[in-house]
C-alpha cells in the first residue's frame, strides 16, 4: 500500500498499514511496534536490570519470550534480546535501559523502524508457517512462549507464539511486502496440507 502523498514526513507509518488476508489463517500487519535490540552478557546483573526496567519481564530462557507489565523480552541469541514496548514509548524506555546498563559492556538500539510485524492466527496458523520455515511446528514441539529465528522462504524472520496460539512474525521492513505475499500464498484457501 503506497504512503499517501500528503502525509507529513514526520508521521510514523508501519510497513504495510492495514494489510490483511483471510484464508487458512488470518494474516494481518500488526502496525507500529516499539522494538529495542539489547546485546550484552545475558547472565550479568545490568542486563537483567535493563530487561526489567524496559518491560517488567524476567530474563527469558533459551529460545523463550517473557511477558511483563509494560512489554515483552524475547531471546534472540546467546548475547542478544529483543525488547518490545509501545511504539511511542521507545525513547523513554531506551533511556531506562541505558540507565540500568550503566557502564556495562552492552548495547541497546531502537530498531522499531527497521522491522515489520505480522500476526498469523487461526486454525491454519501452524501450517502456514510450517510451509515457509524449516521448523517443527507441531503442537508438541512448538508451544506458547517459544520464539524461533529462522528462514522464511528466502528471507530471515523470527516468530513467537502468544498464549492464544497465534503467531507474531517479524522480518526486516525492506522485505515486508515479500513476507506478506509469502504468508498470503501459504494461507490460500484450498492449499491446506493438513499435517498439523
Amino acid at each position: 500500500m503506497p504512503e499517501p502523498m500528503n502525509a507529513p514526513i514526520s508521521a510514523p507509518i508501519s510497513a504495510l498499514p492495514g494489510a490483511r488476508f483471510d484464508g487458512l489463517a488470518h494474516i494481518e500487519e500488526a502496525g507500529l511496534q516499539g522494538m529495542i535490540t539489547l546485546r550484552g552478557d545475558l547472565a550479568s546483573k545490568p542486563v537483567k536490570a535493563a530487561v526489567t526496567a524496559a518491560t517488567g519481564a524476567k530474563l527469558p530462557a533459551l529460545r523463550q519470550g517473557t511477558q511483563g507489565k509494560s512489554g515483552m523480552a524475547l531471546w534472540m541469541s546467546p548475547d542478544e534480546l529483543l525488547l518490545l514496548c509501545p511504539y511511542g514509548e521507545v525513547g523513554a524506555v531506551l533511556d531506562k535501559v541505558n540507565a540500568a546498563l550503566g557502564d556495562a559492556p552492552a548495547l541497546a538500539v531502537n530498531v522499531s523502524d527497521a522491522r515489520a510485524l505480522f500476526s498469523v492466527s487461526g486454525l491454519g496458523a501452524r501450517e502456514v508457517l510450517g510451509k515457509l520455515c524449516p521448523v517443527d511446528l507441531s503442537p508438541e514441539a512448538f508451544t506458547p512462549g517459544m520464539i524461533r529465528r529462522t528462514r522464511m522462504a528466502q528471507i530471515a524472520a523470527a516468530f513467537w507464539m502468544e498464549p492464544d496460539q497465534s503467531f507474531r512474525v517479524i522480518c526486516f521492513r525492506s522485505v515486508a511486502a515479500y513476507a506478506f505475499d509469502l504468508l498470503k500464498d501459504a494461507a490460500r484457501p484450498g492449499a491446506s496440507v493438513g499435517v498439523y
Binding site: 533459551l62 534472540m76 541469541s77 546467546p78 542478544e80 524449516p134 529462522t150 528462514r151 530471515a156
Partner: protein
C-alpha cells in the same frame, strides 16, 4: 540434505537455515610465514571422501559460528561443537570412531 544442530542455541534444522563456512581448523601461520605455509593456508584443503570437519554459521538463526564433523558420502553428522577451539573435542572424535573406526583427517584421528 544435512540436518545440523547449532551448539549455541540448540536448534536442529536443515542446512538452509545455516551457511557453510568452509573447512575447519585451518591454521594461519604467524608473522614471517614462508610462502609455502601461506599458500597452504589460502589454498590447501582436504576435500575428503568420508569424515570431514567444517565451519558453519547459524545465519538465519542465532547468528553464531560453530564447528561440525560429518561424512561427505552419507551426510551423516557426527556432532557439532564450539567455534572456540582449534581441535575437535574428544567426545566428537569418539563419536566418529564409533561409526568410522580407523578414520584420520589431517593430524587428527
Amino acid at each position: 540434505m544435512l540436518i545440523l544442530t547449532c551448539p549455541c542455541c540448540g536448534v536442529t534444522a536443515e542446512e538452509t537455515e545455516f551457511a557453510a563456512g568452509g573447512e575447519a581448523h585451518v591454521k594461519r601461520f604467524g608473522p614471517g610465514a614462508s610462502d609455502e605455509e601461506f599458500r597452504d593456508y589460502i589454498f590447501a584443503r582436504e576435500n575428503p571422501k568420508g569424515v570431514h570437519f567444517e565451519r558453519w554459521r547459524h545465519a538465519n538463526g542465532c547468528g553464531k559460528w560453530f564447528h561440525a564433523a560429518r561424512c561427505t558420502i552419507t551426510l551423516e553428522v557426527f556432532g557439532t561443537y564450539s567455534a572456540q577451539t582449534t581441535t575437535p573435542p574428544k567426545a566428537i572424535c569418539a563419536a566418529i570412531t564409533a561409526k568410522r573406526p580407523g578414520w584420520t583427517w589431517r593430524d587428527f584421528a
